[in-house]
Amino acid sequence: MSSILEEIETKIAGLKTSTTKSNIGTVRETGDGVARIEGLSDVMLNEMIEFPGGVFGLALNLEETEVGAILLGDATKISEGDEAKTTGRLLSVPVGKGLLGRVVNTLGEPLDGKGEVKSETFYPLEKIAPGVIKRRSVSQPVQTGIMAIDAMIPIGRGQRELIIGDRATGKTTIGIDTIISQARLNKAGEDSKSKDYRPLYCIYVAIGQKNSNVARVLAVLEKEDAMRYSTIISAPASDSATNQYLAPFAGAAMGEWFMDNGMDALIIYDDLSKHAVAYRQVSLVLKRPSGREAYPGDVFYLHSRLLERAARVSDEYGGGSVTALPIIETQAGDVSAYIPTNVISITDGQIYLETDLFYQGVRPAISVGLSVSRVGSAAQIKAIKQVAGKVKLDLAQFRELAAFAQFGSDLDAATKARLDRGQRIVELFKQIQYNPIPVELQVAVMWAMQNGFIDPVPVERVKEFQNKLQDFLQTRKESLLASIRQKKQLDAELEANLKATLEEFSATKPVG
């Protein structure tokens, strides 16, 4: 009790002496979440401005006679003639492990009714990305648990991989699957008490989405017990454009805390198309000059400075990383629109989802030809490299041949074999949502495919075969899976073991 009294005493003592100097201005006009203020001669760019009633703003336009500021919070409390004051502070959000398991808004305030966010550290929203000296190349994998991605388009820790596609093609689902996969791996890592395992914390930033969508994502993550390692930042469609514009930067700040403290984080920006639209609105209301599609001239810089903050830093700086999975929604498959081309050129690769494939039942609807990861196999464990090295090539050849083979029925044996193999790979890569597959199981299944164990199975029963094989391995050959997990590569002994196991499984005639 006495310590509280002392604290208050010192605070009062601090106030007694001082005459405060501040820099103020007068609100000249306000509306659409923006205020124009005369005065404020000492204001800095991006500085927080305090209005009466505890509303804050952010100075974005410093002009000759006035300052244009965007308002955070209730803009209706501000009226013409009000006094606005500089604060000398930059907008900051709480960061740290106290945010795990929470749903917060752009300013880090709780939305989930679970009480205050416990955090003592604050990070500014805008921060310069780590430079060349601090960085090192990407080499550790992010296991998404989606076989097609882990095999063909591997994502590494510190990478920026774009997820792009039309509406309702499963973009968010890939993000959610990745979060669930990380949660399972983190839990297994914690249980095994292994010192080598580096947990990957996930931050899901919902920008301009329906509240119902965010609620659904939250429900899925809670059901899978993934919220323990995740934070959701929600700036839904009903939020102001200002909050939507700032939300990804808040996410980046929260992710950077993990990186600075030697940990790994994954941020999903869902989605940057709506983010660009929110920024366009703010810019137009601030009367900034507009360019192509009415976006302001710095919309490229907006996304490049955001995504540049994803990095993997060298061991001298803690060895942490921030991985970014931005999502872009295209209109009618048009990847050559303004924002999609911008973000494609910024990121280290993209996962392109096709509507046609989605409706053909190939889910996740990943287009192999257009998807790429520029980090490549550096972000794969060796076992996956051994079994999936040629899968992408096989599938690409299959697509070409399949189009060609439609015109004739007389095919030579080699072509037919390639077509058969391709059809089976496509079947193997089909995966239901919220069901990530552990990497050791992926290795075993792909090894079976590569070594011809799946070739005798009719195409329409491949999935059934795969499910039964997975069950068989998980229930009866746990030790084999464990040794793949530990060794991370297939040696002669493991291959012999896999061969024996698959022969044993095939002998049971799983699909008749």
Partner: protein, 130 residues
């Protein structure tokens, strides 16, 4: 208010021409306005409007408003004016006002700078800190 670039440029030049030795000169202001009225260039009303605004902002920079909760003695007001003039230059105009909402102490505003030692300000800061 949407103001054209050309209008802004002319108004700015007019403002620049209104100073002598770094201080606003009433005579020059009048002559600048007269010359515009005589020439009547395109958008001259908007130019004068914008010029007026620039002048107002410039005048505000050279004006001090001193608020207190109770009326000050003449001796203190002259001392304050003198001190402010020493700091901001002799062309500073001063205005004394009574604002009971301050509760006590003094609040001085010069341009966009504010020195606040009022009781109200201290209470507000205390409220924020606690």
């Amino acid at each position: 208010m949407q103001v054209k670039k050309e209008v802004r440029q002319i108004a700015r030049e007019m403002l620049r021409a209104s100073f002598t030795d770094g201080q606003l000169d009433r005579g020059r202001v009048a002559s600048v306005v007269d010359s515009i009225l005589a020439k009547k260039p395109r958008n001259y009303l908007k130019i004068l409007e914008y010029y007026k605004r620039l002048l107002r902002l410039e005048a505000e920079k050279r004006h001090a408003r001193i608020e207190t909760a109770t009326a000050l003695e003449p001796q203190i007001t002259s001392q304050i004016s003198l001190n402010l003039a020493r700091r901001y230059g002799t062309d500073l105009t001063t205005e004394f006002a009574i604002n009971q909402a301050l509760l006590g102490g003094m609040r001085i505003r010069v341009g966009s700078d504010v020195w606040d030692s009022s009781i109200r300000n201290r209470l507000e800061r205390l409220q924020q800190q606690l």
